[in-house]
Symmetry: C2
Amino acid sequence: MFGLMQDQPLLISSLIEFAARHHGEAEVVSRRVEGDLHRCTYRDVAARSRQVAQALDAWDLAFSDRVATLAWNGYRHLELYFGVSGSGRVLHTLNPRLAADQVVWITNHAEDRVLCFDMTFLPLIKAIWKQCATVKHWVALCDEGALPADSGIEGLVSYEAWIAPQATQYEWPSFDERSAASLCYTSGTTGNPKGALYSHRSTVLHAYGGALPDALNLSARDSILPVVPMFHVNAWGLPYAAAMTGAKLVFPGAALDGKSVYDLIEGERVTMAAGVPTVWLGLLNHMAQGGLRFSTLSRTVIGGSACPPAMIRAFKDQYGVTVLHAWGMTEMSPLGTVCTLKLHQMAGTPEQQMTVLLKQGRAIFGVEMKIVDPEGQELPWDGQSSGDLMVKGPWIISSYFKGEGGNPLVDGWFPTGDVATIDPDGFMQITDRSKDVIKSGGEWISSIDVENIAVAHPAVAMAACIGVRHPKWDERPLLVVVKKPGSEVTREDLLSFYEGKVAKWQVPDDVAFVDAIPLGATGKMQKMKLREQFKDHMLPGV
Amino acid sequence: MFGLMQDQPLLISSLIEFAARHHGEAEVVSRRVEGDLHRCTYRDVAARSRQVAQALDAWDLAFSDRVATLAWNGYRHLELYFGVSGSGRVLHTLNPRLAADQVVWITNHAEDRVLCFDMTFLPLIKAIWKQCATVKHWVALCDEGALPADSGIEGLVSYEAWIAPQATQYEWPSFDERSAASLCYTSGTTGNPKGALYSHRSTVLHAYGGALPDALNLSARDSILPVVPMFHVNAWGLPYAAAMTGAKLVFPGAALDGKSVYDLIEGERVTMAAGVPTVWLGLLNHMAQGGLRFSTLSRTVIGGSACPPAMIRAFKDQYGVTVLHAWGMTEMSPLGTVCTLKLHQMAGTPEQQMTVLLKQGRAIFGVEMKIVDPEGQELPWDGQSSGDLMVKGPWIISSYFKGEGGNPLVDGWFPTGDVATIDPDGFMQITDRSKDVIKSGGEWISSIDVENIAVAHPAVAMAACIGVRHPKWDERPLLVVVKKPGSEVTREDLLSFYEGKVAKWQVPDDVAFVDAIPLGATGKMQKMKLREQFKDHMLPGV
């Protein structure tokens, strides 16, 4: 017997219509590529996303056709989020930090029909457009006046000219909530990129889960700055969750340096900001140099890679800003866990609480997790046993776009590739990526633990720990270090810095100083490249 | 094209399993009928709800069979919430405040197979059990030792003896999320009661929506006291939302007097309490008499009927407790709106903010609303135009159980029977029940407005405003008043109390003093009975 409740699909168009109707006055502020600040409201975004929908109708785009974006965070990108998915097409957010040939490969693989790009990327588009055979329409995210006459790109139109003829009223189509809504490729370190194809259902459920008090805690009293790019797992779902809750949205565009981010936070009275650790480094440096304070910022969500404890402490102790440590993956929409305290922990000392807050956090309802040993047996939640982290839930992928890589699930669980512990309170802590763990004899050494200690040293700007071959122990840790400008530190200084912090066998065998550590398209350290670079490194005493 | 996300139904069993796994240590505290405090955890509740599921299996209850409860708020009731629905049966919460013949009628209409009751209701069950033809099993919510040997009720077992043989491990069944999960009858003032049949999907979505920061704002740092009964629209969904967020649950059992509620709030460090205005009256009186304060309570959710402004102010000004004004209906699971401020209102004065907070609030994402004129035309959101309030969304009914009353929807919208205004910020304010509005000449007078002024008078304990026939104006308002014990006030005093507060034509024509105003099974004033009682009342000057 079915319940007798209204049969309303969970659709992305409902999010923007809700925002327009109930929070029509709430602002969407964007720093544009042009450098100026653009201000509009959810009411405007809704009207223009309806124009986008009808502009796509006018081009006869079919249901589920892919519309790609190559764009910074901004209001036009937001309008595409709702106009493309809301009208039944699939929003494909391309990562402009990828190499040109990768962008071409992904565009062809996705079979994009339309590609909308910020003017920043005009040179890239000029270079690749002929190789993107499926793309019939090129849209430059600018006014008609800003469009170059001689781009040479066939079928190029300006966004404003494209949508202008369309009505601002529109009846959004209704369809199965499991329909594809957006597509995001993972920047895997091996093999070709693989696409995660989100549905309307998964997106709306993820927005509910992400907005909860113990997740990102979003309300109509928030001013949210997604520094995390909209091309990176839909800015962690913030555009959807913000519309769901009526929060003000502040978009940084291409200006992600410390000063620009700080000025935007202060100028727009931002209460919550979200990004990867590397972005916050620039912000904290800028603030330290200028002796600056925050007036309104109360919390920052940090994810994308493990956040160094020193950064969590800096935000908290120096600026009174709570860092919400979060963890997720492209394959998870992306939110899996967020670290907030429980009732019984509220009575703990600040130090006890910090021990908890350094972990990746607790699962949001909608995400199930477990850790397993190499045989797939579940391991206890004792905070000690570490194993492969597996997840399942309605906003986690079942397979990749076009079935690439076959069935990624193991008995219905998605293997995250992370190694983690889970404590009795359900707080998960990533100890490493399974491929980055250093297997020394029968023991595992967490590369992240070794790195966190290194970056706490005042002379260290960045550090990566990788395993290199050892005749006796199979692998031993090598610490690769970038020094802070003007700072000096020796190999011996650094190694002695580990004394008393970890067991002796976990201390790196050697230190290599480098000018830079290669970063991937999402700002993560590319340890695979380092392993290649140091594959013949001779450890002392070998 | 479908998205490639995991196909996981939204099921009530997932809520308790999530709570057990991620918040296994969080407490569930219950004041029992026996008078003592019982303490257990979500881990215990999950284990025992799995026993309930298997005890129902052992009785060969079919999928969707109804299992009724006649019980106060407590841990055993909570176990039935999850065990009954989780195993695919339908939890039917009977309202023990109804007359015995109504309980019989509803039980037969619902075709309950099992009825579980608190020992408080043994006399009632003894009186009616023979008339409940469909009920095959009677379960007394007590230990085997507390079961009377001579009840005479065929097939009576104690809850503890019933579940004891079952294993605490269980594989919950998976099924279509649209399956019926629970059934709650409305205590309509006319006609037979009608059943709202909730689904697993509607219940889980409602829990997500209800836990949001701008709704009830529930987290794992909360200790929640649902004073609102679990037989009244599932205690506004709090048992589900608490499990979803890992909040501590505190159940008051049958002890709803001011002292008991206060002691429980203090003893269990309650942070959030929820109930109808009448319950809070007793609490506030108890506190005023004893000069008491709250140590941990930060907010109370008040709904079920419009909350008098004086009560909102008393909580805020005297006790520092934020009142969350909420509005909903049995047909809405029940949450529709909650009143929390928006960003741009945070800069307002306390008085400006209070003006907003006196309204019923903003819609939660998942609830759409509109107001319409008698012709069904949508009215503007100007805070002035009042019209019939219509709602739709995935946790709002499409029809009543067994199709009673035909299709209640109008073009897909559910007519709430409330008359309301909506302001430009989306804040809805109930001006009246459509049947309670006093139609004086061409103008409408809100009975609620008239009552709110009356109860602000220090001598008034309770007040109801009803329309009585008038030869010239069709209807004119009569104020029916219960005086506070030991207080005196005259008709003239009260009428002059309206001067300057409302327009002259909105002042009641007369006052009638009574000993008591009849209350319905959910604590609401039964104005229909008052209208009957005063139908021949002669207004002065007529």
